[in-house]
């Protein structure tokens, strides 16, 4: 009986023993057989302390080593949380505080950086560990584990400045990955070109669908995404035929007329998610590359995706792409303001029910209860569904169209960001009276307004650079002599938008 995603990997690795599972560059790749062995070595080391169903943090930059650590944790019957090693110190500290891991895994490339933190937590360097596999201990884990144990916790940004960690069980992960594999026909011929980081939910799709189907995943070096010609050449060198990227990565390639010079010769499937794909750029791709294109939609809380749309008709540059329909084995509810099923042509909030739905936010009862709620359409028995906070409406084709966030959470450069988290961080700058942010949807810019007697734009920008992750950093900073407030004493964001649009500052 398969209870863990690693049970699938065990089975597949017997068939594709000597095939590459992960490729980092021409000198660094690993076969299925060797990968399983090395992940089990990591697991055996973890099991020396007999941890079971405990959180384990991974402080390793994107590499095969990071994947070994992830699968090592899964084989050990515990659950992992991959940290962004380039994250501002404070964010990592907050995540560690919420997660309270029993162990931190690192490797020789990252151990020095980890030394900058004063965590009083046991560390295991997987580059210099004991190389034995403890089959007896691994067997015991298999006997004991259940599929509703978490596989991992992934943190997204939170409005109070405290990141939220979505808990995803093996059951959800298996259900989701099986759907992904079947829907997009991922098989032993698939060669993924991976773009998204392993601490980001999108990577769950390409990493785990690879391991359950005998495919190969190639970690494209990040630097290539700044240099489109090099990127396409790289894809051709490694015969990459399937990609699942954020739209901004696809757009960079399209914007620079890259396809006039070089074409990805092997590409068959182009999948994207994380933000709205701009139509002009999609049309450039479609014009030059004859492939299957699909728009995927979903939050970290539903493992990765809950609806998808395979692009099957022509779109004008000013039209928007629908997010499509529910994944197989998942149901989407559109719920109106009155808590009823939205009528035809009525906008409703998107709720998700089914096995992909996660188990809540780790160590955060309050936020969990706000988003993981009783199915509003089911009054008869307890049933938890996920309330996305996103709005949608059915179009004339019976597909869902996305209508944006219900609150202030935004999607920017593929990342989900709560404007509140940016504000909370910047408000901590000494000498700053108050700040507020708005999002310019049209130009994809985070705009920061601030009030201060002593600070200049340069001071604020400098502080932002050291305090916030790159993708959270405001793209425009505007100083106001006075912040506008509405009647309720809240910052008047409508007014801020006006000020910004009129250029009145």
């Amino acid at each position: 009986m398969k209870k863990s995603i690693t049970d699938y990997l065990d089975e597949v690795s017997l068939i594709y023993k000597n095939k590459n599972i992960f490729v980092e560059n021409k000198d660094n790749k690993i076969t299925y057989q060797k990968f399983v062995k090395e992940a089990k070595v990591v697991a055996s080391n973890i099991l020396i302390d007999k941890y079971y169903n405990q959180p384990i943090a991974i402080f390793i930059s994107k590499s095969i080593n990071c994947l070994k650590a992830m699968f090592g944790v899964l084989y050990s019957g515990n659950f992992y949380c991959v940290l962004d090693t380039d994250s501002p110190k404070e964010r990592i500290e907050k995540i560690i505080e919420t997660l309270n891991p029993v162990l931190i895994l690192t490797d020789s490339n990252n151990i020095e950086k980890l030394g900058n933190y004063n965590f009083n937590i046991k560390t295991l360097n997987i580059s210099s560990q004991d190389l034995n596999i403890n089959n007896k201990a691994l067997k015991e884990v298999n006997r004991r584990r259940i599929d509703t144990n978490p596989a991992y916790v992934l943190f997204t940004s939170g409005s109070t400045g405290i990141p939220k960690g979505s808990v995803i069980t093996h059951k959800s992960l298996i259900a989701y990955t099986t759907w992904f594999k079947e829907t997009f026909d991922i098989n032993e011929k698939t060669i993924f070109g991976n773009q998204t980081p392993f601490y980001f939910s999108m990577s769950v799709s390409d990493v785990f669908s690879t391991v359950i189907s005998g495919a190969t995943l190639n970690i494209i070096p990040k630097i290539n995404f700044s240099f489109p010609v090099n990127l396409i050449k790289y894809m051709n060198d490694y015969k990459i035929n399937t990609i699942y990227w954020v739209p901004s990565a696809l757009s960079i390639v399209a914007n620079l007329n890259t396809f006039d010079y070089v074409i990805p010769k092997y590409l068959e499937k182009v999948l994207f998610a994380g933000e709205v794909m701009p139509m002009p750029q999609l049309n450039i791709w479609r014009k030059h590359i004859d492939a299957m294109y699909a728009n995927l939609y979903g939050p970290t809380e539903t493992t990765d995706i809950c609806t998808y749309y395979v692009v099957n008709r022509k779109f004008k540059d000013n039209e928007t792409l629908p997010i499509g329909n529910n994944c197989n084995n998942l149901e989407i509810l559109l719920v109106n303001e009155n808590g009823e099923s939205a009528k035809e042509n009525e906008i409703g909030e998107i709720f998700v029910r089914g096995s992909f739905v996660g188990s809540g936010y780790y160590n955060n009862k309050e936020k969990t209860e706000l988003a993981f709620v009783q199915n509003p359409l089911n009054k008869c028995y307890p049933e938890i569904v996920y309330k996305t906070g996103d709005l949608g409406r059915y179009n004339k084709y019976g597909e869902i169209e996305y209508f944006g966030r219900k609150d202030f959470q935004i999607k920017h450069m593929g990342y989900r960001i709560e404007l509140g988290e940016i504000e909370t961080n910047i408000n901590s700058l000494k000498g700053l009276t108050i700040c507020a942010t708005i999002y310019d949807n049209l130009n994809k810019k985070i705009v920061l307004f601030y009030e201060s007697n002593s600070l200049t734009d340069d001071d604020v920008i400098k502080y932002i650079n050291q305090k916030l992750l790159k993708y959270m950093q405001p793209n425009k900073v505007i100083k106001l002599s006075k912040m506008p407030y509405n009647a309720n004493g809240k910052i008047d964001r409508v007014k801020l938008k006006e000020i910004y649009e009129k250029g009145n500052f």
């Binding site: 630097i223 620079l256 890259t258 010079y261 920008i461």
Partner: protein, 73 residues
């Protein structure tokens, strides 16, 4: 040279551009910085940096950026 450094400082302040040799491979300029840099160079020097010129070697340091600009002017 001075003008290039000015543009770089606008893209990302707080870096000693005259000393840095590996702006790209050293991870100093992100892909987003680079997009902004190219737009500003195109604007300021009235040039058109195409994707063919968009290779890491051309953006590693002030000298290589200057060479590129002079080539395209």
């Amino acid at each position: 040279m001075k003008e290039i450094v000015e543009v770089l400082n606008e893209v990302k302040p707080g870096v000693d551009y005259l000393k840095e040799e590996n702006l790209i491979t050293g991870g100093i300029l992100s892909s987003f910085d680079l997009v902004m840099l190219i737009a500003m160079l195109n604007d300021k020097f009235n040039i058109n940096i195409t994707v063919v010129d968009l290779v890491p070697e051309n953006f590693e340091n002030v000298k290589s950026i200057e060479n590129l600009v002079n080539k395209l002017k």
